[in-house]
């Protein structure tokens, strides 16, 4: 079982923060995991191969869509078991499972603005958990946009919030047609993270 940090203890406060967050519901939880759990997690991720991925929207390195080691499969299960009930209570979202991949953003890597919302994929909550890095990154912030939607299209997009990739920080946000966000380019260093979604 993944040991969570004390930051989770006050669920009513986290729920209030979730509801108050702008430009769309999100949470930033520092100290998300107990220190011992961070070390265990790093050891598992270190054994998983990563591959380069590049398209018009992104350039980064990541593990394969499905875990290739038993250890990472176990981590995904533990992550889902530890976080799904708590995040369900905090956000009010009906969620039952999670998936995740590990990502490495090196200088020049980025993920341009997108919403994560795709019909048929049932993504309810998105998350990014930042791992300690041997070379703390410059850049690589998660940037959230305020959007206006008309006729199923975004007609206004404005930068609204910036979240630094601090170690042992978990960011969770609601996935919807207007949950526009990006990972700003890493200009130096190495940004290590786990990211994925919670599903019904």
């Amino acid at each position: 079982m993944l040991r969570l940090g004390a930051a989770w203890d006050d669920e009513p406060a986290l729920a209030a923060a979730w509801r108050a967050a702008r430009p769309f519901p999100h949470l930033v939880i520092d100290g998300a995991l107990a220190e011992a759990a961070v070390a265990e997690l790093l050891a598992v991720v270190d054994e998983e191969p990563v591959w380069p991925y590049e398209a018009d929207l992104f350039a980064f390195e990541a593990t394969a869509p499905a875990p290739t080691t038993a250890e990472l499969r176990a981590l995904v299960a533990a992550w889902s078991a530890a976080l799904t009930p708590r995040l369900g209570r905090i956000t009010g979202a009906a969620i039952g499972r999670a998936d995740l991949r590990a990502y490495a953003y090196r200088p020049g890597h980025y993920l341009l603005p997108h919403t994560d919302h795709q019909a048929g994929l049932d993504r309810v909550l998105a998350f990014a958990y930042y791992l300690p890095s041997p070379e703390p990154p410059r850049g690589g912030e998660l940037e959230l946009y305020r959007c206006e939607v008309a006729a199923d299209e975004l007609v206004v997009t404005e930068p609204a919030a910036m979240i630094a990739p601090a170690p042992n920080r978990l960011v969770v946000f609601a996935v919807g047609a207007a949950s526009l966000h990006q990972v700003r380019e890493v200009e130096d260093g190495l940004r290590l993270s786990l990211a994925g979604w919670f599903y019904p």
Partner: protein, 179 residues
């Protein structure tokens, strides 16, 4: 209207180096500045400056003639007549991009010309053309170079992200031509 597919045996995708010299490119950039760029910032599609209607009839005609010459099926054949449908100038600075789903899909045969008007090469700033998701024509940053691509409904295009580590902007004149 003549179908370009009937004119050219193979689908065209080529780059003509040094189609415009540095001094002439600088003059065009200055005229574009005077005409005025508009910021496009619906960032789920793109982030760039644009001149939607650059007033460059002589340059556009010269580029159309150059493309027609390069696309002759044989050296002795007459160049196909090509007409300019429209033109726009785009300027991408550090952090800018144009995504593929912001691209117009052309289900009739057209030629797309991209003239690199930049003052200096901007490393990694490229134009990519894909067919069926596969990259088949990569236009690297090369000031003065002209890319000529035949487009149909299966081709998509995007302008790659310009790194914030770059100091310069890339300036491109984009023309659509029809036979």
């Amino acid at each position: 209207m003549t179908d370009l597919g009937a004119l050219f045996a193979a689908r065209a995708a080529l780059v003509v180096p040094a189609a415009i010299g540095p001094a002439a490119a600088a003059e065009v950039r200055a005229r574009l500045e005077r005409r005025g760029y508009t910021r496009y910032a619906l960032v789920d599609r793109g982030s760039y400056d644009v001149v939607a209607e650059p007033d460059e009839p002589a340059l556009c005609a010269a580029l159309a003639a150059l493309a027609a010459d390069r696309l002759r099926p044989t050296p002795t054949a007459a160049p196909p007549p090509l007409a300019v449908i429209d033109a726009r100038a785009v300027r991408l600075g550090p952090g800018d991009f144009v995504l593929a789903h912001h691209d117009r899909v052309h289900d009739d045969h057209q030629l797309e010309l991209v003239l690199d008007l930049s003052a200096a090469p901007v490393a990694g700033a490229e134009v990519h053309y894909r067919r069926g998701g596969q990259l088949y024509h990569r236009v690297a940053a090369a000031p003065g170079a002209l890319s000529i691509v035949e487009r149909d409904g299966g081709v998509t295009c995007h302008h790659t992200y310009v790194s914030r580590r770059q100091a310069d902007a890339v300036v491109r004149l984009v023309l659509r031509l029809r036979a």
